[in-house]
Symmetry: C2
Subunit: 353 residues, 2 copies
C-alpha cells in the first residue's frame, strides 16, 4: 500500500471512519496515479478501484503491486458485492463537495451504508503537504515556465496581438515537455492590464504598454503559476512607482513566508501596505498549487491558518488602476522550515521588450 | 419571459413547485442563453440570475427585455435577501444530478427552504423537443460536418497517421464556422477500428484499412454527430458483408423512426438482426443530440420510451470484430410526424480514398 493511502487510512481511523468512497478524480489521481473514470473504495480489507471495461486495461498498466489496489469491473458486480464492501462499517465517509445529491442517495442505498459521513476535504487538506515526487513535478513545471519567459523576451514585439503572444506561450509549453496548460494564459496589454482576469484580445501591443502575462503549465499533472508585467519599448514614468510598490511587497512576502507564518497576518500586512499607498488589492495574495492550479491553502485576511513545510503556494500581489493599467508579480513558492524558496525564478526587475 | 422559461414554470406548477434553483450550466444556457458562472432562481415573482462581478456586464449584454431575467451580483445580497427569494414557497425544486451534497445543504439553509425537492431532470427532458432556432443550429453543425467529410475524401491519403487526419478535421471545423468540437474526434484505422471508442494514434493508414471516422462540431452551442467507415485503396472482400449488414440496418432504422416509435422495440429489432448474423452490438443504437453530445433520450433495449416530433437523435449501429476491424455508420436524425429526416447527408456507400 502506498504512503498516501496509508496516510489516509490513519486519518480515517482518527475520524472513526471504517470506510470511504472517493469520487473526486483529482483525489483519486493523487492517491493512486489512476487517470480514468471510476471510484475508489477504501474498505476494511482492501482498496478497490471500480471502473468499466473501457479503462480496466489502462488502469492495470498504471498500478504496481506496491499500490495494493484491486481493480474491479462494475459489470461483474452483484448487488451482494455492493452490500459486502462496507459490511460491519459503522461510518463510511464521502466527499460532499464532489458527490451529487443523486449519487449520495444512490450510494447510500446500493452499499447499504448506515452512517454516510461528510469528510470536509480530508484528502484536499492532505494534498497541501507535497511529497518529493510531487515537488519534483512542480519544479519541472516551474522550470518550463521560466524557460518560456526567457523565450518570450526575444519573441514579443510591438505590433503583435495579445492572442498571438498567448498562442506562442501555449505552443512553447507543448513543445517543451508540458502535459497541458495549467490554466488559460493571460496576456493583457495597456488598459487591458487593469483587469486581473483579462482574456487575451486582438489588441496590438503598443509602445509604452505594460503587458501582464500570467501563465503556467502542468508536468505529470502538477501545475506551475507565474505572472510578470513587462513593458513595450520603455517603462512609463507614471507606472514606475506602482511597479516598485508591487515588487517591494512581493519580495517582502517571499522573505516572510516560512513554516509557522499565519496566512491571515501576512495577507493583512500586505493589504495594509498597499492601502497606505492609496491602492486596493482586488484579489487574494495567493493560493496553494499542486494537481490543481487553485487548491488549499487559500489566502485571505480572515484565514486563520499556519503554513507548514512542503506546502507550495503562490505569492501574487497586484495593483489595478481602472481603465489605466495594472501590475501583478507572481511566483510559485515552496514553504520550508526557515524560509520560502521561489520555484519560478524569472527576472522581476523592469523587463523591456 | 421567453418560451422556454414559460414552459418550465408550467411544468413546475404541475409538480406543485413554487420555486426552483437551477445549477446545471447547460440548462441555464438553454433557458437563458447565458454562458457564465452563476445560478438561476425561479421564484414566485421573478427569474433571477445570481452571478459575480466578473460576469455582470457580459450577462447583461446577452439578455434582452423579453427574457425577463433579473441579474444580481451576489456581492450585494444580504442574508435577508436569500431568505426572501423563496418566502411562502412550500416546495422548491433543485437538480439532484448536478448539485453536490455540500451545496444542497448550504442552499437549503441559506434560502431557508422547507421542502427542497428533486426534479428528476425536468429541464433535460424538456430539452428533448427542439425549437426552430435549436434545429437551425443543429442543421448548421451537421452541414459543416458534411462539408468536412467531403473535404476529407480529397485529403486523406495512405501513409498519413490517424492523428494527422484527426487534427485536419478539427482544423476544418474551426475554419468553417464551428464554435468548437462536439467531442474528441475518432479516427481508427485497420485493427484499431475494432474498438468503438478508439483514440487516434500515430498508426499510419495502410492499403486495405477500413477507417472509422466519428466526428462532430458545435454551432451556437448545438452539436452534430456523424460516423463513416471508409477504405484506403480498396474494400477488402471479407469486410463487404459486414459493411453491407451495418448499412442495411442503419437504413432500416432511418426508415422506421418517426413520432410514436418505441426506443425499446427498435433497439431490440436491430440487436436481433445483428445477432442473427452472428455478431454483437457493443453499444447502444443511439442517443439524443442538442446542447450536449449525449443527452435524452438514451437508446437501450429496455428503454420504454416513445419518440416525439422534433427530437434529434443519432442512429449508429456498428459491428466490431476484436483484433480485426469494425464498421460503424451514424447519422444525426430529426424525428418528424411521419418519418425521420437525416440531418447529416454524407455518402454511405463504399467510399475509397
Amino acid at each position: 500500500m502506498n504512503n498516501k493511502i496509508r496516510w489516509l487510512r490513519n486519518k480515517m481511523m482518527g475520524l472513526n471512519l471504517q470506510g470511504m468512497i472517493i469520487t473526486n478524480p483529482v483525489n483519486i489521481r493523487y492517491l493512486t496515479n489512476i487517470q480514468a473514470e471510476g471510484i475508489l473504495l477504501i474498505t476494511r480489507k482492501e482498496n478497490i478501484f471500480l471502473t468499466d471495461s473501457r479503462y480496466i486495461e489502462h488502469v492495470n498498466a498504471t498500478l504496481t503491486i506496491e499500490d495494493g489496489i484491486v481493480v474491479s469491473n462494475i459489470k461483474n458486480l452483484t448487488l451482494d458485492d455492493y452490500e459486502n464492501f462496507f459490511l460491519f462499517c459503522e461510518n463510511v465517509g464521502f466527499e460532499e463537495s464532489n458527490l451529487t445529491y443523486a449519487k449520495y442517495k444512490e450510494y447510500m442505498h446500493k452499499y447499504r451504508i448506515n452512517n454516510f459521513e461528510e469528510t470536509e476535504g480530508i484528502i484536499e487538506k492532505q494534498r497541501m503537504i507535497k511529497e518529493d515526487d510531487e515537488l519534483n513535478n512542480i519544479k519541472k513545471a516551474c522550470s518550463i515556465t521560466d524557460n518560456c519567459f526567457e523565450y518570450l523576451k526575444g519573441f514579443i514585439k510591438i505590433g503583435m496581438s495579445e492572442k498571438q503572444v498567448a498562442a506562442e506561450i501555449e505552443n512553447f509549453f507543448m513543445k517543451n515537455g508540458a502535459d497541458e496548460l495549467a490554466f488559460s494564459t493571460i496576456v493583457a496589454s495597456g488598459k487591458n492590464s487593469s483587469m486581473p482576469h483579462a482574456v487575451p484580445t486582438d489588441k496590438l501591443i503598443e509602445p509604452g504598454d505594460p503587458i501582464t502575462i500570467d501563465m503556467g503549465c502542468k508536468y505529470n499533472g502538477y501545475c506551475s503559476d507565474m505572472t510578470r508585467t513587462i513593458f513595450a519599448g520603455f517603462v512609463p514614468q507614471y507606472v514606475k512607482p506602482v511597479y516598485d510598490l508591487v515588487l517591494k511587497n512581493q519580495i517582502q512576502v517571499s522573505e516572510s513566508l516560512k513554516e509557522g507564518v499565519n496566512i491571515k497576518n501576512i495577507s493583512k500586512a500586505i493589504e495594509n501596505n498597499i492601502k497606505l499607498n492609496g491602492f486596493d488589492m482586488m484579489h487574494s495574495l495567493g493560493h496553494g498549487v499542486g494537481l490543481e492550479i487553485h487548491e488549499y491553502p487559500f489566502f485571505g485576511n480572515r484565514v486563520d491558518f499556519y503554513l507548514k513545510e512542503n506546502m507550495v503556494i503562490t505569492n501574487e500581489p497586484g495593483i489595478y488602476i481602472p481603465n489605466k493599467f495594472g501590475i501583478r508579480i507572481e511566483d510559485t513558492l515552496l514553504v520550508s522550515k526557515y524560509s520560502s524558496i521561489s520555484l519560478t525564478k524569472s527576472d522581476k526587475n523592469y523587463v523591456v521588450i
